[in-house]
Amino acid sequence: MNYYLALIVLLPVLSFITLLIFGKRMGEKSSYVSIAAVLAGFALSIKALLYVMDGGHAKIAFTWLSIGNFDVTFGLLLDELTAVMLVVVTLVSALVQIFSIGYMHGDKRIGWFFASLSMFTASMLLLVLSPNFIQMYIAWEGVGLFSYLLIGFWFEKKSASDAAKKAFLVTRVGDLGFVIGLILLYVTAGTLDMDKVFAMQFAPVVAGTISILIFFGAIGKSAQFPLHVWLPDAMEGPTPVSALIHAATMVAAGVFLVARAYPLFEQSPAAMQFVAVIGTITAFMAATIALTITDIKRVLAYSTVSQLGYMMMGLGVGAYAAGMFHLFTHAFFKALLFLSAGSVIHAVHSQEIFDMGGLGRKMKITAITFTIGGLALAGFPFLSGFWSKDEILLGAYQSGHMAIFWIGLLTALLTAFYIFRVVFIVFLGKPRGHHSEHVQESPAVMSVPLIIFGALALSAGLIGSPLTGNAFQSFLTGGHGAEHHPDYMVMGLSGAVALLGIFAAWLRYGTRLLPANIISKDNLIYKLLVNKYYVDEFYYKYLVKPTHAIAQFAYTFDQRVIDGIVNGVAWITVRFGIGLKRIQTGYVQGYALYMLVGLIILIIWSCRVLGLQ
């Protein structure tokens, strides 16, 4: 198994190196290399999953560095959690890359595109397989790097390079906490190997501090409040990138991190509470913003932020398996939504939902797959998102987090409303804008991945549903304590709010029963939402601008004061030298005299200093 495990990571690395060197010459053919590597990885991941289902675990380990008695052990670790992640990452990556053949057709940097996707996939796989926090951090930054490079893939566009910069810097801020957390962990535990750390018992305060600091990294990477601001901007990247990196895999890395470090988090109720509260705030806040957004990709981006909040909520209230289950189903239905949106954008050449309309008749496959994705997201009964979201709400309910439960339920209502607002505007009604009138369905290489994702969005939830005895959860937790009786009250409520949300959206956007100006543009709440709670403005005013001001001050200080003193000393010396010129008579006797005097002074001084009276 070890051999296969290494191969899963190495194949995309090899693809990256190949494409880095030959990508330019290979052009469109680059995709074959990259897709072959990830498909092989997918096959091996299935093998790995079956191996784990048979009760097997695997571990490769080698010493990465060794200083005195501080050893850092790197390697690859296969257990239940990683087996699930391997399958998700390779499957989504493969389908997204196949979709990209059509979507990125004709781009002049297509070789670089597939090279980056390969290396992103490799980093993501390395991340989930990490048995050591430093290795995980390396992979963590690796996925961040390719996120940065791919958001800025069309770097000639200023908005794209701005978005890339923002993504890098905002996530870096979260990573500061992560790094400090790792430093504290090293200082207290003396090691950063996960198995050793997780076997230790820490004082709750220590475990809580370290966990919360590490969680800051997750706040950045998984776009949780208040560091969520980079993800909507990241939509400047090509849509397949948004689907793979900014919906299904990388942004879920923060959730994975919490899940991986769960033995540490569990030692501190305060840390768990913190995770739950941040998740809940994020889920609700992002859903409210999504209500007013008119850019189809950004609606999905805020939706991703919101759903990641749900996952954190689940982990925080102790519903570990439910949080991971939602990560699993979300990966499929959100990738589906993004790729379907990509298919629409590809046809309409716009991301504004009010440029679209009536597309349902012209792009049947896309309309159906987007709607399936929307239903799954909304938590429409018996689709994948329904089962996993229900599990999280149930977790909140059963653990007595009633406020979180009700906010989660309200958020589910908003979710159903905002996504069906998009569905009705885009696919029903009359075409708006000239592009919407003559659009065509996308080619098969794009629609086939959509259909596969559609099937997954419909059915992937079943394996964690009560119908299969919560098979997913019991697999993840090693069989104990995961199976539970369904709570029909919670299930009924979450199904009802989904239907209610969809119905409200239909009333408002599917029919003309409700007037368009039902909410005034001057309404304070509307303004707050349209401006995304002014978080960006806050950062600009209180963080970015002051930094520039302090930097400018430091530079002026450097030039005027510090260098000023240096030049001042030099100036005085020169003046002094001009004065001294007068005693430079040119007579050798004179110099000899000075030397003698100087020498005597020096000797006397030295004797004094050396205490040789």
Binding site: T63, W64, L65, S66, I67, G68, F70, I134, Y137, I138, A139, W140, E141, G142, L145, G152, F155, E156, K158, S161, D162, A164, K165, F168, L169, R172, V173, L176, V179, I180, L182, I183, L184, Y186, V187, T547, H548, I550, A551, Q552, A554, Y555, D558, I562, D563, V566, A570, V609, L610, G611
Partner: protein, 487 residues
């Protein structure tokens, strides 16, 4: 080794410089290729050091010792340990890179390359010298060629920069000389031998005074805040080759001397003053990073970033734990590779665009995708991207320093965000975006340039991906330093 390998390597460039004088001054190409050959031979001569070095052995290796002026205790004593060997090798490598980067020198080519070879003698000598007089001579030997390189082949403001560099660092080394003499006269041993002095440790009542003389001399060389203002002028005005050598090697002379002289010869004073050194290191980190943010000139930005990064190395030294010292020594090598690469690329970009102003650049990834991509790589390495070498050094410094200076370490972590801020902005405005309409058409990287950059990239990746083989050299030597002081 059964031959005096260090002496041969150190003085080989001197022989080379003499050989260079045999070539007529107008045969520019022959001069260039000959210099390249000379430095490559030097590098090749250094390879047996790596294979012959006995990892874990406590004494200085490849040591050569001969009386020089026995009457006053001066000897010719050279040798290498796990701390100096990596820097010695870095010097050999970066000189080759510098020669390749100096193809664009068009005037007084023979003089330039001769000075460069003299410079090499000095730098290698500093890392190998185990006698204070010898150390001082090599230290000064570096100064003069560098003064001329800045003053003759530098930019518009070269003479100001050269004089400032010269006087500033000369003042520093004059103080150092006073310190050396004080040790000689008061240690009771009447020797200049560093190894002997290390064994006993200098604890005379003058120790504080001696410490200060060395401290100022080294702090100027590194440089640390607040004696750093010669650096932006010198780095920016120097020709590319000069900047690479200054940032890559000369700054390491300072940080190396902190370990070899201040920690090992003056352990008592080091322990007393380490907290103050740590404060200056943290100020350097944050202050220089902030100053870098305010720069509109790419080369100046890199210059200030160099000061900031050296602050991390000094923090690791001051914190004085096994992990932090390993990190500091490794980071010296990394800093040489990474900052060297940044200056190299800034130079190559300048040769094409004739400007370093960030506002006049932009879209270089469109015009020169390979060079642009390499710049992004170097910037990412510099901001400590995991997987590349800078990360390993930085994380070891931070992990190791926390137990000594918790608060400073946390501040240093915040410095990482500032670093990312200016480097990512530099990427965005210089490399990404649309090229300004006024920008001409240029050729992307040529073969010579590519060859000059490639070894740096490979090493940066190698250290970043698998640091163990590199730390194997460093760790035992660091352990000895620790044991000497903790008894």
């Amino acid at each position: 080794m059964d031959y005096p390998i260090i002496t041969m390597i150190v003085f080989w460039p001197l022989v080379g410089a003499l050989l260079l004088q045999l070539i007529p001054r107008d045969k520019v190409n022959i001069i260039r290729w000959s210099t390249l050959l000379i430095t490559l031979i030097g590098l090749a001569m250094g390879l047996p050091l790596l294979s012959g070095f006995k990892v874990g052995q406590t004494a200085m290796q490849f040591a050569e010792k001969a009386p020089w002026i026995p009457g006053i205790g001066i000897s010719y004593h050279v040798g290498l340990d796990g701390i100096s060997l990596p820097l010695f090798m870095l010097g050999l490598l970066l000189v080759v890179v510098t020669v390749l980067a100096s193809w664009s020198i068009k005037e007084r080519v023979r003089e330039y390359f001769s000075l460069l070879l003299f410079l090499e003698v000095g730098m290698l000598g500093v890392f190998a010298a185990l006698d204070f007089v010898l150390f001082y001579i090599f230290w000064e030997l570096v100064l003069i060629p560098m003064y001329f390189i800045i003053g003759i082949w530098g930019g518009r403001n070269r003479s100001y920069a050269a004089v400032k560099f010269f006087i500033y660092t000369l003042a520093g080394s004059a103080l150092m000389l006073v310190g050396i003499l004080a040790i000689y006269f008061t240690s009771g041993l009447y020797t200049f031998d560093i190894v002997k002095l290390m064994e006993v440790g200098y604890n005379h009542q003058l120790a504080t005074f001696v410490f200060l003389t060395f401290f100022i001399g080294f702090a100027v060389k590194v440089p640390m805040w607040p004696v750093h203002t010669w650096l932006p002028d010198a780095y920016v005005q120097a020709p590319t080759g000069g900047s690479i050598i200054m940032a890559g090697i000369l700054s390491k002379m300072g940080t190396y001397a902190f370990i070899r002289v201040i920690i090992q010869v003056l352990p008592g004073e080091f322990t007393r003053f380490a907290p103050y050194i740590a404060v200056l290191a943290v100020i350097s980190i944050v202050y220089a990073a902030l100053t870098a943010i305010a720069q509109s000139d790419l080369k100046k930005l890199v210059a200030y970033s160099s000061v900031s990064h050296l602050g991390y190395i000094m923090l690791g030294i001051a914190a004085f734990t096994q992990v932090s010292l390993n990190g500091a020594v490794l980071q010296m090598v990394n800093h040489g590779l990474i900052t060297g690469m940044l200056f190299l690329l800034v130079g190559y970009i300048y040769e094409r665009t004739q400007t370093n102003e960030i506002s006049e650049l932009g879209g270089l990834s469109v015009k020169i995708p390979i060079l642009g991509g390499m710049f992004v790589f170097a910037a990412l390495a510099s901001l400590g991207l995991p997987g590349l070498s800078g990360f390993v050094g930085e994380i070891l410094i931070l992990l190791g320093s926390y137990s000594t200076y918790g608060l400073y370490t946390i501040i240093a972590v915040f410095g990482l965000a500032l670093t990312a801020f200016y480097l990512i902005r530099a990427n965005q405005y210089a490399i990404f975006g649309v090229p300004p309409a006024t920008m001409g058409e240029f050729r992307d990287v040529n073969g010579r340039e590519f060859i000059s950059i490639l070894p740096l990239i490979l090493l940066i990746v190698a250290v970043g991906v698998y640091p163990k083989p590199f730390l194997q050299y460093i760790d035992p030597a660091v352990n000895i330093v620790l044991q000497m002081i903790r008894g």
